[in-house]
């Protein structure tokens, strides 16, 4: 499923751009779909997946595995494996705990000063100010302590993810064998819902920060690996050859040529890792991660306004981490800083002053008895109060409006919801669920063959059959119908907005916080209010899916279009092409790879939130996974998750299209 986010090197082979790949193929695909529809009209419901072709005992075997793990883990003298897990979890628990307490011990004033000065010194004024705003929002929302818990947890999780991800990414970048071996694993890590592996993680690492860090790492490592690998591979071949011919060893090649040249992409990987990690805060809250995640989960049940507030603080935290690492990376880029002696000594002086200022701030705050958290009720009158009550009341006003079925907004949104559900979603769902299974398997395999070729078609056949053998055919087809719609919307939104962002810097800047918002705001906090406005099933889950997925597509498309060689654009303009012609005839075809990758990543991201859909009324596989965790049906959760993964692989093979072939052509 190729690489994540924003950075596929774009092929620059104008000769291939003349004939869009879908011409002709589109007709064939439509024909196959029409045949499937005819079969559906004739045999609807006559051929559900036959029970003889289901591996029924699998769920029990999986349950037994969990029980076995549990018993092994409980034994007095544990094997070396469990001792290693134990050691890891104890040290991570202790470290996160210590780090959190340090942040609190430094008092709110001291911690803010330390954070802001650190970013100011290494990242510059803008990033420093942004950090100050972030700390102010932790304080003013009254969620200081929770924010510090989440901050400590996430710094550790991101740090460890990079520690594992970047070296693996380098290995994958230098060896295509490693890359091929690792790619399916990365797909699985991104698509298999955390709910499915939470319990084994809890058994191995117990409850608490370590378990939270591990589950976050599973989701946040793939972008680090993929983008690093991409960066290493993107280093021009002739540069590598030149270095080798001058006698560089492999280590020298890596350290002096590949890493410095891949630097910007590796940093992009860091940013994506941060965003992915922050999107796991709520899941982490379920297994003892505490902090903002726990506020969101309990808040959703008993105080939705508070859940929304905590969700927004998560977004602010993500943006602050993202912006400051980016600024730090830019300022410390050796390519951009030509240090002379006077600047060097000035920087050294700044470091000294900064360190002194941090120590002084902490010291003074402690001396004055400033409280560890905010609101600070020490001193008379109290040193500081929060805006929590005011903010919550404002959010509540909005919620009350949303929850009132007597408003005109409700009258409009409810009808839209019903219309989309009845005219689009239910018919599609019915079609996929009720069409004879062999027609669906055959049809989708044929489409994969037409669009992508023989091997992808075979993979599609195998994965679809395995879904049936797992005994979740109908549920999977239900989920598939929703995933198709959500992906289509995500791709449409991502491509259009991505083009706009590539064409206009201002639009691009404006979209960035929007992207961050939808990538990190916990879906439940905005989808539940949406259900009040659109009280129907499936639709809210689809909204959650495309809102989470479109930012990645947008970033990829924007990057692809922007990276089109300026020479091609100039050539076209010289021949008198209008701006629109340049876009549709030159830039988009040339960015085709990035666009296809965008489609792919949209599928991955939509599948990653199938469980959220299960929690907001979409049913299907997501509901099964969610039920599996709490009701102790491990097997059920794993089976549904494997089915989600199989859907992902099948969809990827169907849509990967000419991406592969085109590359071969160029090679």
């Amino acid at each position: 499923m190729a690489s994540i986010a924003a950075a596929e090197p774009v092929s620059r082979a104008p000769a291939l751009a003349h004939r869009p790949w879908w011409r002709g193929k589109l007709v064939q695909v439509a024909l196959i779909a029409a045949l499937m529809y005819v079969a559906y009209r004739i045999w609807a419901l006559d051929y559900p997946w036959p029970n003889d072709l289901v591996w029924n005992s699998l769920s029990l075997h999986l349950d037994d595995f969990q029980t076995w793990l549990l018993t092994e883990r409980g034994k007095e003298d544990q094997g070396i494996v469990f001792t290693v897990f134990e050691g890891f979890s104890t040290s991570v628990d202790r470290f996160v705990d210590w780090f959190t307490r340090l942040l609190l011990w430094m008092t709110w004033a001291g911690t803010t000063a330390a954070g802001v000065l650190l970013v100011l010194r290494f990242g510059g004024l803008r990033a420093g100010l942004f950090t100050l705003l972030a700390f102010a929002s932790f304080a003013l929302t009254g969620l200081w302590e929770e924010s510090m818990q989440t901050l400590a947890l996430m710094l550790v999780a991101v740090g460890l993810s990079l520690l594992v991800g970047i070296p693996l990414g380098i290995a994958a970048g230098r060896s295509s064998r490693v890359n091929r071996a690792i790619t399916p694993l990365l797909d699985a890590m991104q698509i298999v819902p955390a709910f499915a592996y939470l319990m084994p993680v809890v058994i191995l690492f117990s409850i608490g920060p370590a378990a939270a860090v591990v589950s976050t790492m599973v989701y946040a490592i793939p972008p680090a690996i993929r983008i690093t690998a991409l960066g290493i591979r993107a280093v021009p071949v002739n540069t590598v050859e030149a270095a080798t011919s001058m006698g560089s060893t492999r280590m020298q090649l890596l350290g002096k040529v590949q890493l410095p040249l891949a630097r910007r992409l590796i940093l992009l990987g860091v940013n994506q890792t941060i965003l992915f990690a922050l999107s796991m805060v709520v899941i982490a809250g379920l297994i003892g991660g505490g902090g903002l995640g726990a506020v969101v989960t309990t808040g959703i049940y008993s105080n939705p306004a508070l859940a929304i507030l905590a969700g927004l603080v998560i977004v602010v935290l993500a943006m602050a981490l993202d912006r400051s690492t980016e600024a730090i990376a830019e300022r410390t880029d050796p390519a951009h800083r030509h240090l002379d002696d006077s600047r060097k000594s000035r920087l050294r002086l700044q470091s000294l002053v900064g360190t002194a200022a941090i120590l002084a701030a902490v010291g003074i705050s402690k001396a004055l008895g400033v409280a560890s958290t905010f609101p600070d009720e020490t001193g008379d009158p109290p040193r500081a109060a929060t805006l929590e009550g005011w903010l919550l009341s404002k959010i509540q006003v909005v919620l009350d409006y949303v929850q009132d079925p007597a408003t005109w907004v409700f009258a409009v949104t409810e009808r839209i919801g019903i219309f989309v559900l009845q005219q689009l979603l239910l018919p599609l769902q019915q079609f996929l669920v009720e069409t004879p299974w062999f027609v669906t398997v055959g049809g989708l395999t044929a489409i994969a063959f037409v669009v992508s070729g023989l091997r992808p078609a075979l993979t599609t056949l195998v994965t679809l059959s395995s879904i049936g053998a797992l005994g979740v055919w109908a549920l999977a087809m239900d989920t598939l119908s929703q995933v198709l719609v959500a992906t289509a919307i995500a791709v449409a939104l991502g491509v259009v907005l991505g083009i706009l962002a590539a064409e206009s810097d201002r639009f691009s800047k404006a979209m960035r916080p929007v992207n961050d918002l939808f990538q990190t705001l916990p879906q439940l906090v905005y989808i539940i209010p949406l259900i009040y406005l659109m009280p129907v099933s499936i639709v809210p889950g689809i909204v959650a899916g495309f809102l989470y997925a479109f930012p990645v597509t947008l970033r990829l498309v924007e990057r692809g279009v922007r990276d089109v060689a300026p020479t091609s654009v100039e050539a076209a303009s010289a021949f008198g092409a209008s701006r629109r012609q340049v876009l549709t005839k030159v830039k988009l075809p040339l960015a085709g790879d990035a666009v296809m990758l965008g489609v792919n990543q949209a599928v991955v991201m939509v599948l990653a939130v199938v469980v959220i859909g299960g929690l907001v009324g979409s049913g299907g596989l997501g509901y099964e996974v969610a039920q599996g965790l709490v009701r102790g049906q491990f097997g059920q959760g794993v089976i549904a998750s494997v089915a989600i993964l199989s859907l992902g692989i099948a969809l990827d093979r169907v849509t990967q299209g000419t991406r592969q072939r085109r590359k071969e052509g160029i090679a």
Partner: protein, 321 residues
């Protein structure tokens, strides 16, 4: 070049020294004086009733027994059992028969989780409708009255059938089997997690439209919405509650005596809090009162607990005897 490297090396060492110093200073500063009761870790589950339990017990433990209480939010079922086994959670004050699942039994058998009596609340699960519906359809008191009238519950996704709104995926349910075995023309629609389900039925309630759904008591929303439980067939021997088992399911849900759980480690710790937890007990009305202050009136959980404790001195003293 080497000069720069040397400098950055010194910088790193310096940074490490600062970190170690901070560790030492903070380490000595964090360690508070130990109290006789020590720290009790209580787990708060997602629903508001659990928040009410936890904060009332916390208030009394801290104010009267001088304990230090830490609250965790581990999700119920196997995850919090494992937390108790690992000594990360000491107490959970409201368990809805998770201990009876196969996974739960593993923990009960090895004594890492112990049931220490009922928390005084009887959990009731069933099929609920708004009371206003009874005026027009008095027969809806029992399931028989639904027969032939199912289509009044129809929704955008249920076609000509009536809609039955299913419960949170983590709750005990057998409604699909019930509908089938009772021969009702209803379509089971999954609404998702509880807040999502509430969104669905409360919007219909506010419009005074018909709605039939999985619900339970005690629940703070029962103070805001006037709901009636439909009578399902009486329980009979051999009647099953697990939809996944084949057999007969056509009887009402059992009533749950909700259990208090403690970890094996905590039970044998000798802390005065153990005795307190064993004695701790209140009623559905008490819980709904506090939960409604928290979730309905948006009062801080600590304040709501304080208010209830101050108004119910007799009950609180009984826990401490």
């Amino acid at each position: 070049m080497s000069d720069r490297r040397w400098r950055s090396g010194v910088g790193l060492v310096g940074l490490a020294l600062v970190a170690v110093a901070a560790l030492a200073v903070s380490g000595s500063a964090f360690g508070g004086a130990a109290q006789s009761c020590g720290t009790v870790v209580m787990n708060e589950q997602s629903w508001a009733g659990s928040t009410a339990n936890t904060y009332v017990a916390k208030y009394v433990l801290e104010e009267r027994l001088n304990c230090k209480v830490k609250i965790t939010n581990v999700t119920e079922g196997p995850p919090y059992f494992q937390a108790m086994r690992d000594g990360k959670v000491d107490v959970a004050l409201e368990d809805w028969d998770n201990t009876l699942t196969k996974a739960g039994q593993t923990y009960i058998k090895d004594k890492s989780v112990r049931v220490v009596g009922a928390n005084g609340i009887t959990g009731v699960i069933g099929w609920y409708i708004p009371r206003y519906l009874l005026k027009q359809y008095p027969a809806f008191k029992t399931w028989r009255g639904l027969k032939g009238k199912e289509s009044i519950f129809k929704s955008p996704e249920s076609g000509s059938q009536g809609m039955f709104l299913g419960g949170d995926p983590s709750y005990v349910q057998k409604d699909r089997a019930l509908i089938k075995e009772l021969g009702l023309n209803l379509k089971h629609v999954v609404a998702g997690a509880e807040p999502a389900q509430v969104a669905r039925w409360s919007q219909l309630y506010k419009q005074k439209k018909p709605v039939l759904f999985y619900w339970y008591d005690p629940q703070y929303l029962n103070a805001q919405f006037d709901l009636v439980r439909i009578q399902l067939p009486k329980r009979f021997t051999g009647c099953l509650d697990d939809e996944k088992l084949s057999g007969k399911h056509a009887c009402e849900y059992p009533s749950f005596g909700l259990d208090k759980l403690v970890s094996g480690k905590f039970a044998t710790s000798g802390s005065p809090a153990v005795k307190f937890v064993k004695k701790w007990k209140w009623t559905s009305a008490d819980q709904n009162f506090v939960a409604n202050l928290i979730a309905g009136k948006k009062m801080k959980a600590e304040k709501a607990a304080e208010q209830w404790v101050k108004a119910n001195a007799a009950k609180v003293n009984a826990w401490l005897k």
